[in-house]
Amino acid sequence: MDKVFAVMKREYMERVRSRWFIFATVFGPLLMGVLLFLPGWLASRSQSRSDATDIVIIDASGAALGARIGDALVAGGGNRPVVRVVEPSAIVQAESTATKEVIAKQRQGYLLVDALTVAGERARYSGRNASTLPDMRRIEDGVRGAVLSLRFEQAGLDAQRVQALSKIKLDMTTERLSERGRGGGGENSVFLAYAVAMLLYMSIVLYGQAIMMGVIEEKTQRVAEVVVASISPEKLLAGKVLGVGSVGLTQQVVWIGSAIAMLQLKGPIANALGIATVSTFTLPTVSILTGLSLLVFFLLGYTLFATLFAAAGSMVSSTQDAQQVATPLTLLIVPSLLLLAPVLLEPNGTLARVFTIVPFTAPILMPVRMSLTNVPMLEVLASIALLVLSCLAAVWVAARIYRVGVLMYGKKPSMSEVMRWVRVSR
């Protein structure tokens, strides 16, 4: 056991010290922070800019709609837009003048309103910022509000009163409700499921391949023989899988930890950055049981693929050959991603129920399903049991392939040769 620990410690320390690990571990939370705060920051920037009001309004409505829109836009800050009231016949002339102004960068764009706008059918905007969503939303809201107030007034209602009554700022919050009670937002749990799937997929693929490359490196650098003279290949394999697995766990603890910290502290952070609105995403509540089973599925899934990747690595003698032996394993993982969308859509459908039991897709899809819906305990246990059995089988096969392969150099062995390695232990 001391030797397994020695191998594990070496794998862990050497990898944690590597520049790649430090970069990825720091970069992950950084990326998360950017995703969390950047939209708010951009929004707060674009609001303080006056692009949305720096426009010409060509008013051919004949009902002074342009002035109303100007009022509505100015209410959100910025300069008052220029309003040009024209006859419908002079629209073409007014448009070409406005176009020149936009091209000369005197204005951001121009808005055309006419009788159809008053009828509530359409308005047209052309400008540099036509693809800036917040600007367009503001202008559209302005037009809509102006048309509405115009209609109320025409219907004989008091403008002030109408404005006061129609001012509604509505945010709908969503919440998941199930037989286990309330908890978490509906949208949030999809987000969580997606995050869980990506995290599991990435760590299984990345760390599985890391083990494979490590095994090949030991072979190409001819270290393997020195090591297996001191420790049995089975223990070496175990040490490597545990060591690299601990690296993966460390990284995830950092990532998940900083995600939780960031979501908890997003208010203070946003204030410090001078951002008014941050994404409404809140921390989903994860029950201890779900959290635990997440960990169990990660560990089992990782073990299953890591041992297979290690065995694959031991079969070849160069990194060039690695891709060939890794491909079949990748084909076992990829279905998890392909099936992600169907499972997200219908977490209790037949497809989801079947593939959360199949050992190669269960490690990713079952946690996804569990974060979306309440999976019957029996199915969870069956999935775990099958996965444990698969792990044992994989470890047994991998250890046998590894034992022979790790000292084998030269040509990539054929499938029948590998089968013989498995049958004859050494």
Partner: protein, 321 residues
């Protein structure tokens, strides 16, 4: 009976298509330097790997330091330098040595103390530069070999197994290796090494075993092996290159069975019934300027050629011996 450091009994190892080792038995006593000699492809590395339980024999028994080599922890008392040298290139030398020590059960301050001792001894740590803090791939080839050698000896093994230890060594490192081997022997340790360099074997080994095609050809104490191989060997030294007349004498099959021609030095095996005096007279008559003419025991090199010959090298076999 003296205690045996290694005891290999009737070991057979088959691979698909060929037999690497067939019915090999050999005994290496404690405290001796034991040479495993043989051409490439003879089964030396396979034998050594079986000794270390890296691969298992198909038949036969192997004991190391008095117990079966599958016994728990017995291999912690064995040090191994494989023919294919290799170290983790990206690792710092000191961390690598600590790791190799841990694999043999040496850790902590004790490991550090020994690492310091060896780094100093092999001049990898001097007042100017501590190579222990460098990464392996920053070291020269020679220094990497020293590091590998430290890794082999760090846990002060009772049995040291060196597979082709001299291959790729420069003369200085080769001398350091010889000195270390002899010092290990003085301290009562057993050293087994494989080589195809007979000179080194002859000078360093107490006993040898010659194997070819997976079979033992002969074994025993070096002195015994040489005495057994007969005394009808002549060492001949000439001043200047042999003339055609001299060459003709040496080619006379009634006098000379075999000659190992090193241009100015010849090792000659007399033909049956031939007389050394007769050979000397004929050589002088042929105009040879003789600097040395001595009846000697055959060198291991001669014995090797005699016993194994060119036929002992399997056609097309290469790689691990």
């Amino acid at each position: 009976m003296t205690q045996l450091a290694v005891d290999i009994q009737s070991v057979v190892k088959r691979y698909a298509g060929h037999v690497a080792v067939r019915d090999l038995s050999l005994q290496g006593p404690v405290g001796a330097v034991y040479g495993l000699l043989g051409p490439n492809g003879a089964g030396k590395t396979t034998t050594i790997r079986m000794l270390l339980n890296i691969i298992a024999p198909d038949e036969g028994r192997i004991s190391v330091l008095g117990v079966p080599n599958t016994t728990k922890d017995v291999l912690d008392r064995v040090g191994y330098l494989p023919e294919e040298r290799g170290l983790y290139k990206k690792m710092q030398v000191r961390r690598l040595l600590r790791f190799l020590g841990e694999l043999k059960g040496i850790r902590g301050a004790e490991a550090d103390r020994r690492i310091d001792y060896w780094l100093d001894r092999l001049s990898l740590r001097t007042s100017e530069k501590d190579w222990g803090a460098a990464k392996v791939d920053e070291l020269s080839r020679g220094m990497q070999q020293k590091v590998q050698f430290i890794g082999t000896l760090l846990h002060d093994p009772d049995l040291v197994i060196l597979d082709e230890p001299f291959s790729g060594l420069d003369p200085i490192n080769a001398q350091a290796l010889k000195d270390t081997v002899l010092e290990l022997r003085k301290r009562g340790k057993t050293v087994i090494f494989s080589t195809h360099l007979m000179d080194n074997a002859e000078r360093m080994c107490d006993a040898v075993c010659i194997i070819a095609r997976g079979e033992k050809v002969l074994d025993g104490a070096v002195s015994h092996v040489r005495a057994e191989a007969g005394s009808n060997h002549i060492a001949l030294g000439l001043d200047g290159v042999a003339t055609d007349q001299v060459a003709a004498v040496l080619a006379d099959e009634s006098l000379v069975r075999r000659v190992d021609d090193s241009s100015r030095f010849f090792e000659i095996e007399l033909a049956d019934g031939a007389n050394a005096q007769e050979l000397l007279r004929r050589l002088v008559d042929a105009g040879a300027v003789v600097q040395r003419f001595e009846k000697v025991q055959p060198s291991l090199h001669q014995i090797f050629l005699q016993k194994v010959g060119a036929s002992g090298i399997e056609d097309g076999m290469s790689g691990h011996g």
